[in-house]
């Protein structure tokens, strides 16, 4: 299945892209997605082991299972206000 990973602010700067389609096995979790990306080597391995993520615009745990077409945003530490 394919999910869409989104990167903002410092993560986008780090990776040089704001969006990436990633192929994952059926039943993969957020943790699997992070592992898959980090295994790609530099610069992806500079992403944190456990970044905050939002699945379909809601904060999610790394144990959450993904579905085809999910939008998974990597959320750097927030600094609004």
């Amino acid at each position: 299945m394919s999910v869409q990973a989104l990167f903002f602010a410092a993560y986008r700067d780090l990776l040089g892209t704001s969006s990436l389609d990633v192929d994952l096995p059926e039943g993969a979790t957020v943790a699997d997605l992070v592992r898959e990306l980090r295994s790609r080597g530099a610069p992806y391995d500079a992403l944190p082991h456990e970044p905050a993520v939002a699945v379909n615009r809601a904060y999610a745990l790394h144990s959450e299972q993904l579905a085809p077409g999910d939008e998974v945003a990597f959320i750097p530490p927030v600094a609004g206000g």
């Binding site: 602010a9 410092a10 999610a60 530490p77 927030v78 609004g80 206000g81």
Partner: protein, 153 residues
Amino acid sequence: MIHASIVHTPIDTAEVLSRVGAPEDGAVLLFLGTVRNHADGQSVDGMTYESYERMAGPVLTEIAHEAAEKLGTDRVAVVHRVGQLAIGEVSVAIAVSSPHRAQAYDASRYVIEEIKKRLPVWKREHYSAGHSEWVEGVKPLPKRTATVGEATR
């Protein structure tokens, strides 16, 4: 009426304030967050705010509703601006009103503190020396964790 929005243009603070207030209210509070000209001893020229807008809008709305519950009225208005801001410009405006001041102060404080904890917004400080950096932020927690906290209130 509860109002929450992310905007790309200067915030009309009078308009935000006009969204709250009612004959039964004795307290009307307006909080403005502004861009300051210094950070950790460095001189700052301005700030660029970025948001995950399709998520930030709903999260801000959710925060406003939680604040309204604390407040006991539906008179909460919050506007957050993104884009390039100059020193002194308003990045966030929060207006609340209620019959008594204690609830108004609590609700206003709640909105700004929750924004800092979980609104998907980032800011890049532009230093007078020429360089710029993302401001160190707070790692947001999954909602499930927040929900547990809510339930114990």
